[in-house]
C-alpha cells in the first residue's frame, strides 16, 4: 500500500482528465450528492456517505440509443427492386472513464450486473463501458442510517470489484492497487509506501440475515404482500435509484424525417417491474395485474430469482430505495418480516 496525500490526489486526477472522463461525487445539483463527470478535482464532494442515485447509469444509462436506423426510400431509377433501404448503425464509443470515490456497495452492484449482462449473449453496450472503465474505490468511514451492506454479505471497506482502493487515513489515503487496470492509472506517479496496514474499523449498524430460498417459496402467497403493497404508489423510484435493478424498455423514436427519408433511434430506457403495464401483452393479458404481485416480484427477484439464475443477490445494502420511497417501504423490514414469518410457518402473518 501507498500513501497518497490530498495534493497528490488532485494532481493525479487532473492528469487523468486529459484523456479520460472522470466521474466523481459532486454536490452541483441542489446540494444532492451525485456522481457526475467533472473537469476539475475541485468539484469533488468528499462529504458524502451515499449518493442519491447509484453510478449504474454510467454503464447502463437511463436512456441510450442502441441503434440509429436510416431508412431511405430509393427512386425507381436507383433500384428496380424493392423501394426501401435501411442502414443500421451502432453508436460510437465514448472515451475511457474513471469512476472516482466509488463506494463498495456500488462496485458490488456492478459485479451483480456483470453476472447477468456479461453472460452470453453479452450485452455489448454494457460490456464496452465496463471494459473502458476503471473503478477507484473509497472505503466508507461510517455506515449511513439506511445502510445494510453488512447484512447482505459485504462491508463498507470491502474492495471487491475495485481496481484501486482508497482508505481514508491521517494525511490522505492509503492506496491499494488491485488490478492491472488499476496499475495502468499509476504510471508516472511516485508515492511513498504506507506501512499502517488496512485501517481496521467496526461498524455500528445492526445485522440481520437474508432468508433462504425455502422460506421465500413458502411465503409466496402470503397476504403480507397485499398489505405491504396497499401503500405502494408504483412510482418506480426504488428501481431507478437501485444499483442492481437493470430492467429496461426498448422503443423506436423518429429523430428526423423528410421526403423519402426517416432517421430513427432505437432507445433503451430504464424500466421497472412496478409498472402496471410492464408485463401486459398486446392482447390485453397481464400475468401480474396487481400491485401486490408486482411489489412481491421486486423482492423475490432480488433475493430468490436473481441468486438462482445468476448466482448473486440483486441487493447490495445501499439503502437508497429506503431513502427515496415516498411511502416508506423498507427493504430491510421486508427481509426481517420474511425471516420472522418463515420461522412461524406459512400463512401465519399477523403483521
Amino acid at each position: 500500500m501507498n500513501l497518497i496525500t490530498h495534493t497528490q490526489l488532485k494532481g493525479w486526477l487532473t492528469r487523468m482528465m486529459t484523456d479520460k472522463t472522470i466521474i466523481v461525487p459532486t454536490r452541483a445539483i441542489e446540494g444532492l450528492a451525485l456522481y457526475q463527470p467533472v473537469n476539475s478535482p475541485d468539484a469533488i464532494a468528499f462529504d458524502f456517505t451515499q449518493t442519491a442515485v447509484s453510478p449504474k447509469g454510467f454503464f447502463l444509462p437511463a436512456s441510450e440509443a442502441l441503434l440509429t436506423i436510416e431508412h431511405v426510400r430509393q427512386t425507381a431509377a436507383e433500384s428496380d427492386g424493392p423501394e426501401w433501404n435501411a442502414k443500421l448503425c451502432e453508436p460510437e464509443l465514448e472515451r475511457d472513464q474513471v469512476l472516482f470515490a466509488i463506494r463498495p456497495c456500488d462496485a458490488h452492484a456492478l459485479l451483480a450486473l456483470d453476472a447477468l449482462l456479461l453472460q452470453e449473449p453479452v450485452d455489448a453496450y454494457y460490456a464496452r463501458r465496463r471494459e473502458r472503465s476503471t473503478l477507484i474505490g473509497l472505503a466508507c468511514e461510517q455506515m449511513g442510517p439506511t445502510c445494510f451492506c453488512t447484512s447482505v454479505g459485504f462491508a463498507p471497506d470491502d474492495s471487491r470489484g475495485m481496481d484501486v482502493m482508497l482508505y481514508p487515513v491521517e494525511g490522505g489515503y492509503a492506496l491499494e492497487v488491485l488490478t492491472e487496470k488499476g496499475r495502468g492509472l499509476m504510471d508516472g506517479i511516485a508515492l511513498e509506501s504506507y506501512r499502517g496496514g488496512r485501517p481496521q474499523k467496526t461498524w455500528s449498524m445492526p445485522e440481520f440475515s437474508v432468508p433462504p430460498r425455502a422460506v421465500w417459496a413458502q411465503l409466496f402467497n402470503d397476504p403480507h404482500w397485499n398489505r405491504l403493497a396497499d401503500r405502494c404508489l408504483s412510482c418506480r423510484i426504488c428501481a431507478y435509484v437501485c444499483p442492481t435493478c437493470r430492467c429496461f424498455d426498448v422503443r423506436d423514436n423518429t429523430v428526423a424525417q423528410g421526403q423519402g427519408y426517416q432517421k430513427i433511434e432505437r432507445l433503451r430506457c430504464w424500466d421497472s417491474c412496478m409498472a402496471e403495464g410492464y408485463r401486459r401483452i398486446a392482447s390485453g393479458h397481464n400475468p401480474r395485474p396487481t400491485k401486490s404481485q408486482r411489489l412481491r416480484n421486486r423482492f423475490y427477484c432480488k433475493f430468490d430469482y436473481y441468486p438462482t439464475d445468476f448466482g448473486s443477490l440483486a441487493c447490495v445494502g445501499c439503502g437508497r430505495c429506503i431513502d427515496q420511497c415516498p411511502v416508506n417501504v423498507d427493504i430491510t423490514e421486508v427481509l426481517q418480516s420474511v425471516a420472522a414469518m418463515g420461522a412461524l410457518g406459512a400463512n401465519t402473518t399477523r403483521l
Binding site: I69, W84, E90, F248, V250, I281
Partner: protein, 276 residues
C-alpha cells in the same frame, strides 16, 4: 463482439391473409447486422422490427431447410403488429434471432403426437407439424386439435388438406362461436379433447394458445391420464430483448426467452409464479 440487439435486414417476399386481422409475412433475409447463418428449429421465435415503430417477438412458422423464407403469422393487436399489417411486399423489416429453446423433436420420435392449437397459438405448432410431415415415418399417429374463437380466425386453413392427406393423421377443428357457413364442432378445445379422447399411451402432447386455454387444457389432459412428462407447451410473454437481459418475461426465476418458450409440464408445475 456480436451485438445481440442488432437486427438483420429482411424484405417482405410475400404477405398472405391467414384470417381476420391475421397475416402471414414471409421474410427473405439480407446480410444486415452480421452474416451468420440464420438456422432455427421448430418452436423458436424472433423479434421482427417495423422500423420507427418498434420490434416485438413472434414465433417462427416456417421450417429451416424446408421453407426458403422465414415466416411469421402476425395478429393485428398492438402497435408493431399494426405497422407490419400496413406494409407491402418489398418493404424492409428487421429480424433478430432465432431465440429461445425448441420442441424436443427427437424425444417425440416414435410417439403418437397430439397437437392442441388455439387461435394464433397455432403459429409455432405449424413448423412442428410440417417437420413431422416431412419425416412421417419417424413419428406415430398425429392428432391435430385446432381451435379458434370463430371460423375466420382458424389459421393455416390452406394446409388442412395436406395435413389430412398425410398417413395416420387426423385433424379436428372447433370454434367457440360458429357462423352461417360453419357445420363443424362448436365449443372450447377442452370439449373437443373430451370428444376425440386421444389415448395417453405412447403419446406426447404439444400445446400452444392463450394462457387460459393452456391452463384448462392441461387440467383436462391430466384427467385423461396424460402425465406431466407427456405435456409440452410454449408460453408467451412481453419481451424487449429476447436474450434474458431486459427482465420483462420472468415467471418466477424462469425467463420465457431463455428457459422457454417451450416448457414441459414437469417444469410448469414447479413454477412459483403463475403464467396465467
Amino acid at each position: 463482439m456480436i451485438n445481440a440487439y442488432m437486427p438483420r435486414l429482411g424484405r417482405l417476399a410475400d404477405i398472405q391473409p391467414l384470417g381476420t386481422g391475421i397475416k402471414l409475412f414471409k421474410v427473405r433475409l439480407e446480410n444486415g447486422g452480421d452474416t451468420q447463418e440464420f438456422t432455427y428449429r421448430p418452436g423458436q421465435f424472433a423479434f421482427v422490427s417495423a422500423f420507427g415503430v418498434g420490434e416485438a417477438p413472434f414465433g417462427i412458422t416456417s421450417v429451416c431447410g424446408i421453407d426458403s423464407t422465414v415466416d411469421f403469422a402476425v395478429n393485428k393487436v398492438g402497435t408493431v403488429t399494426r405497422a407490419l399489417h400496413e406494409m407491402n411486399v418489398g418493404d424492409i423489416v428487421g429480424v433478430r434471432g432465432p431465440m429461445g429453446n425448441w420442441f424436443p423433436m427427437d424425444d417425440i420420435k416414435g410417439k403418437n403426437v397430439i397437437f392442441l392449437g388455439g387461435g394464433i397459438g397455432g403459429a409455432p405448432l405449424r413448423p412442428v407439424i410440417t417437420s413431422i410431415l416431412h419425416n412421417r415415418d419417424h413419428y406415430g399417429n398425429m392428432t391435430i386439435l385446432w381451435a379458434a374463437r370463430n371460423p375466420n380466425l382458424l389459421v393455416f386453413t390452406n394446409e388442412y388438406d395436406l395435413w389430412r392427406q398425410s398417413p395416420r393423421t387426423e385433424l379436428h377443428l372447433t370454434v367457440d362461436e360458429g357462423d352461417a357457413g360453419w357445420t363443424g364442432n362448436v365449443g372450447l378445445i377442452t370439449a373437443l379433447l373430451q370428444k376425440v379422447k386421444p389415448s395417453p399411451d405412447s403419446a406426447a402432447v404439444i400445446l400452444c394458445g392463450p394462457p387460459i386455454m393452456i391452463h384448462f387444457a392441461i387440467i383436462e389432459l391430466q384427467k385423461m391420464g396424460f402425465t406431466s412428462e407427456q405435456i409440452i407447451t410454449t408460453l408467451e410473454a412481453k419481451m424487449k430483448c429476447g436474450i434474458g437481459k431486459c427482465g420483462r418475461c420472468n415467471i418466477g426465476e424462469k425467463y420465457v426467452c431463455l428457459h422457454g418458450p417451450v416448457f414441459s409440464h414437469v417444469e410448469i408445475k414447479e413454477f412459483l409464479e403463475s403464467f396465467l
